[in-house]
Amino acid sequence: MEYLPLLGIVMVVVGFAMRFNPLFVVVAAAVATGLLAGLDLGAVIEALGKAFNDNRFISVTWIILPVIGLLERHGLQQRARALIESVRGATMGKLLMLYLLFRQITAALGMKDIGGHPQAVRPLVAPMAEAAAEKSHGELPRSERQKVLAMSAATDNVGLFFGEDIFFAIASILLIQGVFESSGYPLTPLELSVWAIPTAICAFFIHSWRITALDRSLAQVRSSSEAEGPA
């Protein structure tokens, strides 16, 4: 019986896998979990409402969209592409590796708000990566183009996650410190943050290798489509 509330987790996994609307899945799972744990329906709705309200700051970041949209209207994405096309020897691999390093270093210095998906990836990084890939490999088929865009977003995430913990005054480090302190192990934030460095180095090499592998696979896609003759 004590495992019953875990049914909510199962609902989330199944619901996401079946491609139901995720908002719908999340609320259904919340209601089921609450009811199975013995709360009444009113209490679950109240808990949802309170938590949703307390977390409004998460959705505040959308206020940047009018700025990005306005600049896109005046050719920001085209400008980003033109900039990359003008750099000699620029490849998608080199560009994304450079962005990975930049994102890790700035995050490690506490500047995790440089970068991000609406501000940087959509208007700048993704169009640049696409332009660089097309520069070396010619026009990309739709599926390959989407891989390049997705890899740009992935590179932003990897750079952020495995850079930010090197900065000692960040929420996750403070959380680790708090948890250990309450169990009688006082640690300083600096002791913790230096141990984020080995993983950060591994992340850079592993993800760089993946980026390079994607760049190479794009070259193969082109040579195989050339072998088949003009499409």
Partner: protein, 316 residues
Amino acid sequence: MITYEWLYWLAGAFFTLWSIFSLRDQRFGNAAFWGILAASFFLGSHLSDLANGLLVLALVAIAGFGGLSRSEPEITSLIDREKFSGMLGNKLFLPALIVPVTAVAGTLLYNYTPLNETGLFAERKETLLLFGVGVVVALIVAMTWLKTPVTAPIEEGRRLIDSIGWAAILPQMLAALGAVFALAGVGDIIGGVAQSAIPEGSIFLTVVVFALGMALFTMIMGNAFAAFPVMAAAIGIPLLVQTYDGNPAVIGAVGMLAGFCGTLLTPMAANFNIVPAALLELDDQNGVIRQQIGTAIPLWACNVVIIYVGAFLLWR
């Protein structure tokens, strides 16, 4: 003092405008969705928990029954964009940089100069508040420089928010789910399961279960913050630190990073994985996660090795 409430009013104003413009466009589902969200931003602090909960249910009902559609407000053509891009040159990047520079430089300036004694911003909230300031400044600069009609940023913003659609509030909704999970004691149950999965006497396998628990529970909750206290209390502290005498700093720091590998793999971490797929207009909602699998799994294995070597082999 400037608080989050100011930002909520600003966001509420934008959502209200998007709602009105959707109405003019006869997209009633979109108008209702953004309108309810605007109400949450304007009134949320004064409503009861139950009323806020009902707003949530209304948002979900609209999204769940397919009430949201993409809008295509009149925008400049691709040819116009190329023309503008050539005309304006690299100066076009400058307004885009205003927001991050204001947020980052402003935070540093505020925290490391006597400015923080003024108490202008609510404590520890200055970065997001300065982000809001940056948005307002960038908007004014861009509108003045480009001489756009007043409606242009609203239409362009609506084009983008409609392309994101319901995913725009998924991260906030998942945070609410996390709160309900916590209330229902899901963390304690998971911790118990993880503890019972541990083979006796093997330090290495205990490290593996700890790191695996961090990654899997992070995938369920969508962020490592919820997983960490549970896994630390179930395995990290009692077994790895107390029984096997490992280095607590390594276990804590790298254990958290093993959780971050899980963040790369889950649609529950919507703002990192699902929202970008919507922003980049990918066909596959999980396209970003697919590109992250090949990085996350080997990196997770590295974290296991780092904990084993750093917390045990080197420590003794």
